[in-house]
Each structure stands twice: as structure tokens, then as C-alpha cells.
Symmetry: C2
Subunit: 239 residues, 2 copies
Amino acid sequence: MDNRKHVEVCFAPGDYEYFKGKSEIVVVIDVLRATSAICAAFQNGIKSIIPVATIEEAREYQKKGYLVGAERKGQIVEGFDFGNSPYSYMKDELKGKEVVLSTTNGTKALSIVSDAPIVVVGALNNLDALCEWLAVQDKNVLCLCSGWQNKFNLEDTICAGAISDKLISTGKFKSDEDSSIAAKYLYLSAWKNPLGYLKSSSHRKRLKNLNLNEDIKYCLTPNKTNVIPILKNGKLVKL
Amino acid sequence: MDNRKHVEVCFAPGDYEYFKGKSEIVVVIDVLRATSAICAAFQNGIKSIIPVATIEEAREYQKKGYLVGAERKGQIVEGFDFGNSPYSYMKDELKGKEVVLSTTNGTKALSIVSDAPIVVVGALNNLDALCEWLAVQDKNVLCLCSGWQNKFNLEDTICAGAISDKLISTGKFKSDEDSSIAAKYLYLSAWKNPLGYLKSSSHRKRLKNLNLNEDIKYCLTPNKTNVIPILKNGKLVKL
């Protein structure tokens, strides 16, 4: 009998309906840059992050006195203090604080999976720590890529493929979906040089045009932290 | 100035809305097995094929006396003469005939792109002939993968990646979307041994369980024909 758990990959939030309800753990991935920034924030000692899908919700929190970050199409939304650059979350003034965050893709993905039993945040930055934790949970895992405005993107898929490959290599997991198999293949061919591999990716070009090269390098560097952010009652906290 | 045309890849009909209206030519791909069967049919001298999305439409045509094929989930639908096996379309009795076809994924994909200026049918079976024709049209090309029940599948993506790679190598085309870049990478790593590469694919397993190995081998063999089926007034005919 095959007792292996599933690790599957969903390419974009719009496809989530086809995967919904089949996995106890959902890993939300937005490598450039929301989930990388969230990991950096917890590494830096932030207390909690409230992810919200819309700018309207973000403004409501702002009125109540919260520290609020908001990003759309790679840029800080006017009137907010920060966007989704990991470097924004490394400031001393954020230690121990609760902040609110709304981004183009990542926090939207977090909002649609809030019904899943366990939701954690994945990035290349916390890859090994996350995989070690996932490997001992004895639960089915879905990697949900945030994509770009509902479309497939390379960097999230490669991160999901890395998670799949690491879990499958424990012997305790398998993948059935073609999207999961493809993600693993893309990861295996990208891994030696992710920056080179992604140089032609659409989102990288978008960010490069915004002079965000340092952010890109940071976000594509594996294992900068051991933190695993987890969603508890609508708030991300450190596991 | 960059005068190159686009060749992009859409992974599944559900994503078509994000690509719609940007390409003059849409190539509909359903390697296992609808578009492979359609190519086989025209290679065998069929006159035309009317693709329909639903079984109800297929039954209406049947009542009017048409020859009608219908497949769902890999099997011939009860009451119809054939499904989407390429071998069904190689019979002498179909030469010169008009037939109606409804399949799980392929004819659905054909139905959603019927508004595009030019719609052609692609498969590994007609790969080189199709690419030679596309290369001289001086038009943007979208490869629409039929997928499996709206989800990504490997075989259609690899075929789309092959088309992209061949068009880009002419120097007259480029890809901007991450899905197109991924399709090309998947094609390049799969190409030496597509049967081996696809042995773990979900749809291949599905068909293997239905004893359709001969069909799979046929569909995964490149360049069995030079025909290019094209949609004209709701009917597929030979270009």
C-alpha cells in the first residue's frame, strides 16, 4: 500500500478551485516579493502581519492607527509607509510590532486559502526550514503560487518545484498532478543558476525596470532564515 | 526596433481570458488525443469536422444523420460511433465525409477561441508543417493547450513549447510570458525522450489504464503528417 502523502503545485490563485480541499497544508508562495518580505519581517522580530486583499481594507486599518504596507504592480501605493521590499521589514522600529500588508498577488493568494486547515508562507528564503517542517507533519501539501495577476510565473513555480522535490526525496511524498511534475522539472533545470534562469522572466524584467535588483537578489537567495510564518485567526505569526 | 512577433503559450482554456485578443492566430493543442485525431482524419482524406463542445449538440447532429464522434474521460460516449482515437479516423468509410466531434478538452478549447481571426489545429503529429506555415504568416501566435478539465497538462505544454522554440529559432518571434518560457524549457528537457518524460504524466496514466498505449505512441510521434486543419465558419477543413 502506498502511504505517501501528496505534494501538489497550483500555478495561480485562479486554479485553486481545482485543488481546494484536498490538502491539509497550503504553502502560499510569492517569491517576488511578498512571501520573501514576510519571512524577512519575522526574521527581524516582527510580532504579526495581517494580510489583506484590497487597498480599501488596508486604508481602514491605517485609519485605526496600524502600520500598513501596500504594494501594487511593484510600487508602494501612495499614502502608505512601505510596500513589499524585504528591506523595508528589517528596520528596528518594526520589531515586536503588528503590521498590515496588501500586495498585488501574495496577500490575495493568502486571502483565498484562509479556509484551509493550515496555511504557511513559503519562499526560497526559508526553503530548507519549511521543507524540514513539512516533511514531519504527515499531511498532504499544496503549494499555491501567487503568480502575476492570476497568470503563471516562473519564480514561484521554481520555489514550489524545490519544495516538491525536497519532500519527494524523503520517500514520504508523491506528486500526481502534471503541474507538480512540471514544477519539479523546472526547478531541477533552474537550480544551478536561478538568477540566470529567471533573467528572461516577465516579473524580473518588471522589477528591474523599477531598480529593484537588490530585492531580486535577496528574494532569490535560498535559506536566509529558518522562520516559518503561519496563519492563525487571520494573522501571520511565527510558528 | 524589435519587429519580432509574439509566440505565447496559454496552459489551459480557463486562462484564455488573460491572452484573448492579443494574437491573430490561435493554435489549439490537445495531443492526447483530439487534435492528433483531427490531424489523422485530414491525413486520411476526411472532408470536414464540426467540433462541438457538448454531448447535447453532438446528439442533435446525430439526429440529423451526421456521423458523430464523442469522447468523455478517455472513453467513447455510449450511443456514438467513435471517440477520439486517431485510428478511428483512418477508415476508408470516412474519406470525403463530414463528421461531428465532441471531446472532453479539445473541442471545448476550439469552441472558446472561435472568435479569433485564425484558428488552426496543432499536434506533435503535424509539428514541422505547422511551424513552417506559422513562420511565414507574420502574425502573433498563441498556443492554447486544452489541458485536462481546465488544468495544466504536460503533453500539450511540451507541444506548445516545441512550436515556440521552432518559431523563436527563426529569429522572427519572441516570447514574453513566463508560461511561454516554461513551456520551452519543458520541451527542451523532454524532447529527447517524450515517451519516457511523459510516463509519469497524469493523462498518460489515465489512458494507459484504458489500454490506449497504441494511441499514446501514435500521438507522441512527431511529423506523421503535413496537414494543417483550420477553422472556417465553424468547421475544420484542410488548409
